[in-house]
């Protein structure tokens, strides 16, 4: 389903359907709030003013958009060759881990050299981690959904291990995080906001993915592999190599997201740098039907909900996790639109 929809032709009816699902989700959530004695109107006012009401809040949406889009690409690229990568979370952590290794050890590099090094290491960390899944898939036939899901935990634990152990800042008084990165290892931000260079990487990644898949011979072959691997193999396309590379590129994107989080947002490696970004990215990609351009829109939608959710908490006194209900409902209604399965 994913691979068969051609990249170029947007289905302009899709957003209408999504809009209807959105409305239904909002209505259901409002009903739930009413049942709990909260005012849904003030809750929605809080969400929207909190996410879109000011330059600052729009900036914050963009800040969240960066990891969401990059993690969405982590699912999108492998999906084009028919692979399912749910491992964005682990790949994000491993990208952050390798980039942190560089940032903590190459402290004397100037920024113009350091930033490229971070980009390369961040990408490599995620790509390597996803590459394991690709390799196991190609060489041993191990399902990549399973292996990437399992490696999420391992990747998170690798970071936990390093920040609690070998990389723990000596002066951090027992707190599990590394020393702060030097200034040269901090991604530049724009216009006094927290929006950082990662937005260029994310949108550049989208554009590049779109361009390569749509306009190059490579993209053409990817479509064949994704559509019918057997036919691709017969026509001499190195299918295994495509699977491995697609997985690695996807993982690299998630790794970049991790690098951005540590370098631009946190300024050091610590546990919990991602609040489920890898999973949210997967959902964003899936909602966009694995179309790289649409992932920007779906990621933005999810970012608005996340950013607005904090304001809702402060204004309406709902637990912060209640925004997860809205996310869940939204997904339910969109998922409910799926084509009916052909009766078996």
């Amino acid at each position: 389903m994913a691979a068969s929809s051609l990249l170029g032709g947007f289905d302009w009816r899709a957003p209408l359907g999504v809009g209807r699902s959105l409305l239904l989700a909002f209505a259901t959530f409002a009903l739930l709030l009413l049942l709990l004695g909260k005012n849904p109107l003030s809750a929605y006012a809080a969400i929207f003013s909190g996410a879109l009401g000011s330059g600052y809040s729009i900036g914050e949406v963009l800040v969240k958009l960066i990891p969401f889009v990059l993690c969405a690409l982590a699912a999108t690229v492998p999906a084009r060759v028919g692979l399912v990568n749910v491992g964005g979370e682990g790949q994000l952590y491993m990208g952050a881990w390798l980039a942190s290794f560089a940032a903590l050890n190459l402290t004397s590099l100037p920024a113009w050299l350091m930033i490229p090094v971070l980009i390369v290491t961040g990408f490599a960390g995620g790509a390597g981690w996803a590459g394991i899944c690709g390799f196991l898939r190609v060489k041993a036939g191990l399902n990549e959904t399973i292996s990437s899901l399992l490696l999420n935990y391992v990747g998170t634990l690798v970071v936990d291990h390093f920040v609690h152990g070998p990389w723990k800042q000596q002066s951090a008084q027992g707190w599990p995080f590394t020393a702060p990165f030097v200034d040269a290892a901090r991604l530049p931000t724009f216009l006094g906001s927290r929006v950082h260079l990662g937005i260029v990487l994310a949108l550049g990644g989208v554009a590049l993915t779109y361009f390569v898949l749509r306009w190059t011979r490579w993209g053409f072959e990817v479509r064949i592999v994704g559509g019918n691997p057997e036919a691709a193999r017969r026509s001499g396309i190195p299918v295994g190599r495509y699977l491995l590379v697609a997985m690695a590129i996807g993982g690299g994107m998630a790794g970049l997201a991790g690098m951005c989080e540590v370098s631009a947002i946190q300024g050091r490696l610590r546990p919990g740098i991602s609040n489920g970004y890898g999973y949210i990215g997967f959902l964003a990609s899936w909602l966009a039907n694995h179309n790289p351009l649409w992932t920007v829109a779906t990621s933005a939608l999810l970012a608005i909900i996340v950013v607005g959710g904090d304001v809702m908490q402060v204004n309406v006194n709902l637990p912060s996790a209640s925004i997860d209900i809205l996310t869940g409902l939204l997904l339910f209604f969109i998922l409910g639109r799926s084509r009916k399965v052909v009766a078996a």
Binding site: G50, E89, L157, Q173, P271, T327
Partner: protein, 469 residues
């Protein structure tokens, strides 16, 4: 979204507080002020909740603030002392107050919004927060976990509620489950955009994000719970905290006297200095009355993971441990495991006795309300100067929660005596020679000062269990 592996770092390094209320339920639920006659002088019983019934006693004594950077602490102590006898409920407008009984502003209770009492601080300090008559001052609180966890966040939220009652011209907003990372910046920004002028980020990891916000909003005051300020910290960020380990020693006396198996357990989360101070403090207290007492320590590497806590508690209980203490954010699961198996519970952060009616002993706890109130008052009066404030039992920011029914009178009085001696400075628990687990002497003679203690990275010789690497 909170389910995914996340920053579960909660709960700060400890330090600071100002004037306040000393409250301690001693023998038979009476309150005693350590400043006067501990354990014997007994004003009428007081509840365990931060209530200020003893406020006037405190103000009778200059508060000895053991601030790491002492200068500004003096002003805090002074303002607290000046409150002697004038502990009126701070109110605005003065005749529309609905005073809450026994809640008293520790200092400056006569403050009327719209007045600036002191000359504004020097250019380097924060601007005075002005409250116009008829308007409310908005104050924001950030909690790292749920506010009803019977633990660290619960204690902080009790303090917020105290502020609301004590200062009717203050309006509070709060956010729970604020992660200790850049997410916190956004939450603070949103509070500021709603008009908050003072923000209390209450968790250790909120310091970095608060500092970033402070640069963007020089007119907002950030009062951080537990942070240590340095020269890079913006001028409108201050820090306060309490030496809660001082209350661990008396709790240790309870543990040492009550154990039958001579095996005590401590379930810790992370090996931060505050935790290690607590473990060593309670061990010293226990050994002071029972040299045979043996402390078993387990780290869960999670601030609030009930399943892991339960497993840790069960495994300690299986080893014959009969008193369990802890340093976790949510104490419930451990307290209940102990209750079900009849082991004594020494809680932490707050009074959680409802969770263990039979086996609850006591808990080193926070009493933030008076501190928050005092800081807000100083800020609006223009007398506040940011500093890293530390104080303990002497100021009442740290208390021992009421004893449970299982604790006999002689044990209570032994603990309260120690409590008073520590508060008065007569007893210094960390007096050397103290050896670490490898036998190296870490403290030779006198008890080191607070800033030195707060770098503790070792466990006492004889403690069973290791600091995770």
């Amino acid at each position: 979204m909170h389910l995914f592996p996340r920053a579960n770092l909660r709960d700060p390094i400890r330090g600071a507080a100002l004037a306040g209320v000393f409250l301690l339920a001693a023998c038979g639920g009476t309150t005693a002020s350590p400043a006067t006659a501990p354990a014997s002088a007994a004003p009428p019983a007081a509840s365990a909740k931060p209530s200020a019934s003893a406020a006037s006693e405190v103000s009778a004594k200059p508060v000895a603030s053991t601030a790491a950077s002492a200068k500004p602490a003096a002003s805090a102590a002074a303002s607290a002392a000046s409150a002697a006898g004038s502990a009126e409920l701070a109110a605005f407008p003065p005749n529309s107050v609905s005073p809450v009984k026994d809640v008293k502003g520790p200092a400056g209770g006569d403050y009327v919004p719209g007045t600036v009492v002191a000359t504004p601080p020097a250019a380097s300090g924060p601007k005075a927060i002005t409250v116009k008559p008829g308007e409310k001052l908005k104050v924001g609180f950030l909690y790292v976990g749920p506010k009803n966890d019977f633990g660290y966040n619960y204690a902080a939220d009790q303090g917020r509620q105290y502020v609301e009652k004590a200062l009717p011209w203050v309006d509070t907003v709060y956010a729970e489950n604020v992660p200790e990372n850049a997410e916190a910046e956004r939450v603070m920004e949103q509070m500021i955009q709603q008009g908050a002028k003072i923000i209390f980020p209450t968790s250790y990891g909120h310091l970095d994000p608060a500092s970033k916000e402070a640069v963007k909003h020089p007119d907002v005051l950030f009062l951080h719970q537990g942070g240590i300020l340095d020269d890079k910290t913006p001028a409108n960020v201050g820090s306060y905290f309490g030496e809660i380990w001082e209350a661990e020693y008396p709790a240790g006396i309870v543990a040492g006297k009550m154990t039958k198996s001579n095996k005590l357990g401590f379930i810790a989360a992370f090996p931060i200095p505050q935790t290690l101070l607590n473990i060593n403090g309670i061990t010293l207290g226990a050994k002071s009355v029972n040299p045979k007492a043996e402390m078993h320590v387990v780290f869960t590497a999670d601030w609030c993971n009930p399943a892991k806590q339960t497993e840790a508690a069960q495994s300690l209980l299986d080893q014959g441990v009969d008193v369990i203490s802890q340093h976790q954010d949510c104490p419930g699961a451990i307290v209940q495991s102990s209750e079900r198996r009849g082991a004594l519970s020494i809680g932490y952060h707050a009074d959680a006795s409802p969770l263990a009616p039979k086996t609850w002993a006591t808990a080193p706890s926070w009493n933030w309300g008076p501190t928050y109130t005092d800081l807000i008052l100083q800020a609006v009066k223009g007398t506040y100067k940011p500093s890293t404030l530390r104080s303990g039992l002497d100021s009442g920011v740290v208390v021992l929660a009421p004893f449970g029914p299982a604790v006999p009178t002689d044990v209570k009085s032994a603990a309260t005596t120690a409590l008073a001696d520590i508060a008065s400075g007569k007893l210094k628990p960390f007096t050397g020679p103290l050896k670490d687990q490898s036998g190296v002497v870490r403290i030779e003679g006198e008890q080191p000062d607070v800033s030195k203690l707060e770098t503790m990275d070792w466990l006492l010789n004889g403690i069973i269990g290791s600091i995770p690497k």
